[in-house]
Amino acid sequence: MFSILNYTVEHLYIVFIACVFSAIIGVMLGVIAYWVKYLDAIILTLADIIQTIPSLALLAMLMLIFGLGNTTLIAGLVLYSLLPIIRNTYTGIQSIAPHIKEAAIGMGMSRWQRLFKIELPLAFPMIFSGVKIATVTAIGISVIGVLIGAGGLGYPIYRGIQSHNPGLILSGAIPVVLLALLFDYIMTLLEKKITVIKK
């Protein structure tokens, strides 16, 4: 029982680190896609392609660079989580009413001031929902990290499969399902709250 708790904590830790990185990188790429007109198609297509690579294949390829262990899994999760965050940042800013942007420009706000005072705050509910999708997906995908030597709840599941031990499989699988459901629930609540505040 104690070990399951450990695995859960490690699992969450991996997902958390991955999501923080992908949120930072994803928002940055989303903003670049919005700022630099001809880059938007390239960035979004690339993120789309990464998303299409089977997760096991992606992790295997990253393993060649980062070796075995948690780092590879985190790198894989970051790449995997980018698409929803980039896309939501990009469309979130893009969909702000043109007259609000015009007012901001007309008042003499610089590009960075507009980004931090107007565009990112207004796009935040949408960015957050991108992060939610990324988090919930990452909780599920990180289970296969065990195949490239990473920790987390994938380990008891994998061991359970190898030793034909249904109890062991479930001891890993149930927490993963519960985590995914719990995060989805909590973040959906937060998402609604933010949307209400920002209207």
Binding site: A97, H99, A103, A104, I105, G108, Q113, P121, L122, K199
Partner: protein, 373 residues
């Protein structure tokens, strides 16, 4: 203050602004008006460089604005747009304080300024300062929009159809408030509208544009009196005919629907005519359609059954006026002579109409409420 010199701008193949030159004096309320696509909004947006001209230069206080950094320039020019454009993620206070904060004003000074401004439009700070734009009515939102533009005390304020989306009552109130603010604070305001009533009400000077050119730049008074082209006249609509009431002639408002007969008609015929036309007086003319006199039903009754031509019994005592006489003079004569009517004649002394108290009342009503007919 602001000087346009030979400004042109094309979007693709269509020329939006065509060699535009004009000057705006300090403290002036300028209204740009014209049919849609005339280039008025483009002209406005060139002042804060939201649109850059292809040719020509714009000077503000002697400085060519193309040499000024856009961000610095815009912070010195207030900007109000039709869709208001308040930032929904900021409170009323934060919205108003945007430019002062960009200019690094002290926090206390920002709050002080917000209070002062909200006071100007009767929106107490304690009640509204911490509210979000969505909690305000449309009129209140645009008031905040105007205050936001005024916050950093810019000498120039640009307004792009600021009241276009408001209901008529709110629009009217805001027009009064903005006009009062402008006079009080001595701002130079450039205001775009397509509503002539608004232009006449607000402007010191109206610039009427069409197809990227200025058709006329004049005070409201002068534009009403002497519109420079048919398009302007059309835009002014009914205001114009009665606006220049000084130039209005007797002919313009006389009653042309008069019953006339010739002097050799028999009395009985005249009575029949009165009955048929439902009038109680007839103008009698000679064979050349010149005035001979007037006959009323009372005259006929008084004389009983008189045979013979009507010419023998007409009342020749009447006031004749020429059709080109000024309306004002005609009215004065009507009142002075205490007559019921004046006969309007043309150069050949032909009767073309009458002026009575009814036509006077109608002319007054038209001037007040537009053409009723």
């Amino acid at each position: 203050m602001i000087k346009f010199s030979g400004i042109s701008k094309s979007f693709g193949k269509s020329k939006i602004i065509d060699n535009l030159s004009f000057e705006v004096k300090e403290g002036e309320f300028i209204v740009l008006i014209g049919p849609s696509g005339c280039g008025k909004t483009t002209t406005l947006k060139m002042i804060n460089r939201l649109i850059e001209p292809d040719n020509g230069s714009i000077n503000i206080e002697g400085v060519d604005i193309s040499s000024v950094d856009t961000v610095t320039l815009r912070r010195k020019i207030g900007y109000v747009i039709q869709q208001i454009g308040l930032f929904p993620n900021m409170t009323v206070e934060e919205n108003i304080c945007i430019v002062p904060k960009l200019l690094k004003w002290e926090k206390e000074k920002c709050i002080e300024r917000t209070k002062e401004l909200l006071e100007l439009v009767s929106m107490p700070y304690d009640q509204y300062g911490k509210k979000y734009p969505t909690e305000l009515s449309g009129g209140q939102q645009q008031r905040v929009g105007v205050l936001r533009a005024l916050a950093a005390q810019p000498p120039i304020v640009l307004m792009d159809e600021p009241f276009g989306a408001l209901d008529p009552l709110t629009r009217d109130a805001l027009q009064d408030e903005v006009k009062a603010l402008q006079q009080k604070l001595n701002k130079t305001i450039i205001f775009v509208t397509h509503d002539m009533d608004e232009a006449l009400k607000m402007a010191d000077t109206i610039i009427f544009m069409d197809k990227g050119k200025i058709l006329q730049m004049a005070s409201p008074e002068e534009m009403l009196r002497k519109p420079a082209s048919d398009i302007i006249r059309e835009f002014m609509g009914k205001r114009i005919a009665y606006g220049n009431s000084q130039d209005l002639s007797a002919e313009a408002f006389m009653n042309t629907n008069v019953v006339k007969t010739t002097e050799n008609k028999q009395t009985f015929e005249c009575l029949e005519l009165m009955k048929r036309k439902k009038v109680n007086s007839i103008i009698v003319t000679n064979n050349n359609n010149e005035f001979r006199g007037i006959i009323t039903i009372e005259d006929l009754k008084k004389r009983g059954k008189i045979e013979g031509p009507i010419g023998n019994i007409v009342n020749e005592d009447a006031e004749l006026i020429h059709k080109d006489i000024a309306a004002k003079e005609a009215f004065e004569r009507l009142i002075e002579t205490k007559r019921d009517y004046l006969i309007v004649v043309d150069d050949e002394k032909q009767i073309i109409g009458i002026i009575n108290k009814t036509s006077m009342v109608k002319a007054l009503a038209d001037a007040l409420w537009g053409d009723l007919a």
